[in-house]
């Protein structure tokens, strides 16, 4: 037990003291702080100059279709600086656009079947369609003009403009909560955190093997202690870094964003203590699963250039597990998503999401956890056995056949 802690502590210190680790963390934190400030920076720039970012738009009502009612648009605050031009030749306006005194212009004429709108821009490569916003404004203004001519009472107007209340309901009993964005975020963060740190275990083992330190190490303590100690040490570093990222994110969100902005991305009401605890549990278990698989492949590598190919199968498993949960999220009540929540390579990515949605039953969670823990125990046993033989094999990379042979020999 003492040795386990020693190996874990040494591995942890070795990882966090690395220059690359420190620098990459600083960069990540800086990027986070900048990212959280993007809305503020945009506001700041726009705040200095009110007309900044507003498109200068000229409207020419040649046939007086609007009977002068367009004038009121000049007062509207809609991201356009609108100028109604009377008695101005079209050629003159086009010239102004070319010289960038104006950005765009709208020419309104009476067409054969209705009102003809010509949208004039400098180049159609920048803007090839009439913005929906302008279409709505022009239609509404025209409608209001005609309504006022008909002398309709406000009551009659209310009846015409009756607001529609939209609602979606479902026939299934389980109600789905949470929002997709938050779930995708959670699942992606879990995947990268698990995958990145599990991969470090493989790297750490391969470094020891290729630098030949391993012979001194295995005669100082048992292979089991080394594998479990490494997994533990890197796991602690992983949890600490993830916690640090979450803390920085929370601090940044509070310091730089308004609560409305936060709730647009994350519905905080979905984050409960049960979800938080279960997410951490699945993170730890998911990490353990992939870290131990990586310990197995890492120990079969003799040359650093073989790391990639040896770790390939584990990477494929992780990606399959991730996508199995990622794609079934779109249809969370499907049986495939239920399967993904129980299947050990995908459950760490999938179950926290089902818990957040409120569709995971306690028995489902229990089954998923038991299966995951049993899988980890089996993989730990196999990994340690193969590790203790493979680490002294300095020849070519071990094939699957060699590994099975070693495992059988060990069991005899």
């Amino acid at each position: 037990m003492r040795d386990l802690w020693l190996v874990a502590k040494y591995t942890f210190q070795d990882l966090v003291k690395r220059k690359s680790f420190i620098i990459s963390n600083i960069i990540i934190f800086l990027i986070m702080i900048i990212a959280f400030n993007v809305p503020n920076i945009i506001n700041k720039i726009q705040g200095d100059d009110e007309s900044f970012g507003k498109t200068k738009l000229a409207i020419i009502d040649e046939d007086n279709v609007y009977e002068g009612s367009l004038k009121q648009l000049e007062q509207l605050d809609i991201g356009y600086e609108i100028e109604i031009m009377e008695n101005t030749a079209l050629e003159e306006v086009k010239e102004k656009i070319n010289e960038e005194e104006l950005d765009e212009a709208i020419r309104i004429t009476k067409g054969e079947n209705g009102i003809h709108i010509e949208y004039i821009v400098k180049s159609m490569s920048m803007m090839s369609e009439v913005p929906q916003e302008l279409i709505t404004i022009l239609q509404d203004t025209y409608k209001n003009l005609q309504i006022s001519k008909l002398q309709i009472t406000p009551q009659q107007l209310n009846i015409i403009n009756m607001p529609f209340e939209m609602e979606v309901s479902q026939t299934e009993e389980k109600e789905v909560g949470g929002n997709i964005l938050a779930m995708l975020l959670l699942s992606i963060v879990l995947f990268y955190a698990i995958y990145f740190y599990a991969y470090q275990v493989s790297t750490s083992i391969t470094i020891e093997k290729t630098s030949k330190i391993i012979e001194t190490l295995v005669t100082s303590t048992s292979p089991r202690t080394i594998v479990l100690g490494k997994t533990l040490g890197i796991g602690i570093a992983g949890i600490m870094q993830t916690v640090a990222l979450v803390v920085v994110a929370i601090i940044c969100a509070n310091a730089f964003l308004t609560p409305e902005m936060v709730s647009m991305v994350l519905d905080m009401s979905n984050i409960t203590w049960v979800l938080a605890v279960l997410t951490i549990v699945y993170y730890i278990l998911g990490y353990s699963l992939f870290a131990l698989l990586y310990a197995l492949t890492g120990s079969t590598v003799a040359k650093p250039e073989d790391i990639q190919s040896a770790n390939g199968p584990v990477a494929i498993l992780a990606v399959i597990g991730f996508y199995l949960s990622y794609f079934t999220m779109m249809n969370p009540t499907s049986s495939l998503n239920s399967f993904a929540a129980i299947f050990p390579i995908s459950s760490p990515f999938c179950m926290p999401f089902r818990v957040m949605m409120g569709i995971a039953t306690p028995s489902e969670i229990a089954i998923s956890l038991v299966i995951l823990i049993i899988t980890i125990a089996i993989i730990a046993k196999v990994s340690i056995k193969i590790y203790s033989s493979a680490i002294l094999n300095y020849g070519s990379r071990m094939s699957l056949k060699d590994m099975i042979k070693v495992y059988k020999n060990k069991n005899d």
Binding site: D3, L6, V7, Y10, Q13, D14, R18, E208, S211, K212, I213, I214, E215, T216, L217, V218, T219, S220, T221, P223, S388, S389, L392, N393, Y394, G395, D402, K410
Partner: protein
């Protein structure tokens, strides 16, 4: 697989299971945890990016030492091996010889009863060889048991009292080194002289194994033959710088046994 190349040490260390036989220590069958041992592997290796002191402390603690006693032992050995000044450097900055010294410390830092050295001198320059030689001699004087494997027979002859020669996993020679050497009669004569004595040797019916300038190596069957040649040379007033009757070296015995 390369596993077969590993010396039987790995069995002893419990990394591989032994096929048969017994491992005993002080007459009792033991497992690795019962014996306080240190091991210097043939494959040289230390953590390249870790400070020397930190990694020595790690291994010392893994071997059960407490912080304070480990610190004392590490400083003692660093001083003794004349590498104190590298204590706070990372290992990758050290020369190969110095890295090897660091690894030697990992084997001895916890004051083991039994020390297993796998090719301890390979890659060391003469100065460091001498340094390590003296340290190993001191350890022997302190009553430590040392098992050493080597391919240079001169090293084995210098240090070992008991030897075992393995060829393709089978024992070909085993026993006390002095007894083994005594069981082989003298078979060579070395003479160094500035004069040409080729004809004299032929007259005595002896054959020259090797001649290098004024150095002769002559095959003899008995020591008597050598004495007769010496008498003849003295009678002819040949000036002799060196005259030595040689027993076969361990190198020769090895070639004879393994070459069979």
């Amino acid at each position: 697989m390369a596993l077969e190349k590993q010396p039987p040490f790995v069995c002893y260390f419990g990394i591989l299971k032994k096929d048969e036989g017994q491992i005993t220590w002080n007459g009792k069958e033991v497992q690795r945890k019962h014996v306080n041992f240190g091991y210097l592997p043939e494959e040289r290796g230390i953590y390249p990016k870790t400070k020397i002191y930190d990694q020595l402390m790690y291994f010392a603690k893994l071997k059960g030492m407490k912080q304070k006693e480990a610190d004392e032992a590490i400083n003692y050995w660093l001083k003794k091996l004349e590498i104190e000044q590298y204590k706070d450097m990372t290992a990758e900055k050290l020369s190969k010889g110095n890295q090897q010294k660091i690894q030697f410390i990992t084997a001895v830092v916890h004051n083991p009863e039994l020390l297993v050295l796998d090719e301890p001198f390979s890659g060391l320059d003469p100065v460091n060889t001498e340094l390590l030689r003296n340290i190993i001699m001191d350890l022997v004087k302190d009553g430590k048991y040392i098992i050493m494997s080597a391919h240079q027979m001169s090293v084995v002859e210098e240090f070992c009292t008991d030897i075992l020669i393995l060829n393709k996993g089978k024992t070909v020679l085993q026993g006390n080194l002095t007894e083994i050497k005594n069981s082989y009669p003298a078979n060579k004569l070395e003479i160094i002289t500035k004069e040409n004595i080729q004809d004299r040797i032929k007259e005595a019916n002896l054959s020259i194994l090797m001649q290098k300038e004024n150095e002769y190596e002559i095959k003899i069957n008995t020591e008597e033959e050598a004495q007769q040649l010496l008498n003849k040379l003295v009678a002819n007033k040949v000036k002799i710088d060196k005259f030595e009757i040689k027993k076969p070296s361990l190198h020769d015995i090895f070639i004879e046994k393994v070459g069979e």
